[in-house]
Symmetry: C2
Subunit: 349 residues, 2 copies
Amino acid sequence: MKFENIVTRVGRMPLPGALTAETYDYRAEPLDALKRGEIRIETIYASIDAGARGMLDPSANYPMLLRPGNRVYTSGVVGQVVESLDPAFSPGDFVRALSVTRQKYLTVDPKRTLGVRKVDPADGPLHIHIGALGMTGFTAWLGMFTIGLPKPGETVLVSAAAGAVGSVAGQIAKAIGARVVGVAGGVKKCDAVVSRFGLDACVDYKADGLSAAIDATCPAGIDVYFENVGGVVQKLVMERMNMFGRMIMCGQVSQYNGSCSGGGGAGGPNLMNVINRRLNLRGFISSDHMDMFPAFERSVLSLVRSGKLLPCATVTEGFDQLHDAVNSLSQGRNFGQQVHQMADDPLNA
Amino acid sequence: MKFENIVTRVGRMPLPGALTAETYDYRAEPLDALKRGEIRIETIYASIDAGARGMLDPSANYPMLLRPGNRVYTSGVVGQVVESLDPAFSPGDFVRALSVTRQKYLTVDPKRTLGVRKVDPADGPLHIHIGALGMTGFTAWLGMFTIGLPKPGETVLVSAAAGAVGSVAGQIAKAIGARVVGVAGGVKKCDAVVSRFGLDACVDYKADGLSAAIDATCPAGIDVYFENVGGVVQKLVMERMNMFGRMIMCGQVSQYNGSCSGGGGAGGPNLMNVINRRLNLRGFISSDHMDMFPAFERSVLSLVRSGKLLPCATVTEGFDQLHDAVNSLSQGRNFGQQVHQMADDPLNA
């Protein structure tokens, strides 16, 4: 064979806490010859998604659970075409694919695989297409435009505001004209949420006085809440939601990190305010709504091109260092999208 | 004056537990002469509403709090016209009015007061117009048709299924073709929910093995939950909701009864299932949606007339016995709508 493929599978199930080099297994596996219509992509970047740690923890209550030997999925990869039997793609083209397995050489039929398209290097770093323009950006956009629907002047609170989804959600809400407050962990992240992403304020959930800080930054209450974290922030927010408020239920990352024992079963907020204040809470998972992906791409690409949405990623390297990339995310070391670089990027050498 | 009016006000704020004769105060107050367009109604029946007890308990977290001297409202009264300066109404007509204060003689302008209309005694007992055809029926209908939207064959669980709202909600869901399971307190109520209202099953929340009983009666999970109670039932239901399930957040009566200390602040269910199962929880209060009242009336009147919806009420008597009527409701003695009779009913003498 011309190309030696390497496939990533789950090796050993992790103990609570950080993943180790044994968590994943990288094994050479034979490649079939390309079939008519297929292309072969050398993966350069793979997205590291919020559920990556939770999927390895049976106690985490995460919707998907992986077991040793299972292939590892990612919400998106960007790479370069190395072989093509589809006339629309040529070797050297930069290509993005969504919801694929993590391999050195990915073989796909662009007509049958989700979100395969050539990407334009002029739109930003290659990994923007698996970040703000990939499933994480789509998640932020879906939540904001199908559930949150903030009106200009309303107060939007975004948790994990320095994270992959939150950083896009906050900027989209700003572009709509809302007053947008972030919640993030640490002074450095909070500063960046305001100075870099342009949010009106950011509350540091690791500092003392969280409750007072939310009051101070949301003096008119909260109309829309983008929920990424759960736990104590969720309870404080529930008490401060305005009449007819919307809670975009995207994730509860504080509760499916393997280091947080039993989080999945911990109590939540009393729901009396849901009734008294006529709140709407809606859970969603972006893969249910792929029919809206083209509308998202048009909308967010125009924000990116006009400079209203600054993408942001934390990139870690090393094909066999996936555990480190997942640890970066689950330990909150990332700023924006967590990306794993699996091969050299010819545009950023 | 031809008529001596008596107005009901809050007397003494109650201690936790049952209301006493001192809770309310019944005082003669002067009546103005009728103005052009007004009518005067002798009140026969007044609705006793779910919030009646909670409104008197500052710790109950209920949206409205009454204080000594405040007039007492009711979601609806039925009475008989005694004077009229509106040509559309004549003395002797039976009339229903919504969201009014509780007085012996109620003076309203039918064009300016909510839901004032002549009622047809052929449609059932007079108090049906403040029950299944009043605000409680409207609440059941709104929840089912704007939030729950059950499809034929889906499983609908209704809490407080023998109560005013629940008994209508369950029958509406049956009329739509859903499989409907009730939750009620005690064997007698549960039997009636099945035999009288025609629900497919009813779970007794006072019996042992609540969790197993819900499993046994909802083997395919729960698609729509009509929430009237909160507490432990809510937690068990949240764990059994199906993908894309809807939770109609109408009330948490277990948490605003004055006898249940601190209920309003108790923890709720973890919201992870809201995300994983793409649930929608929506709180609503029927008075926000009066524009839909005519549609409700047409819809539910046709169910009543075709015998698909059997109204049901518990009537207690005595103008100055309001505390007893409220106790009947907050202690769960009622079956169906709790109604307070304030004067003789000429149609049921």
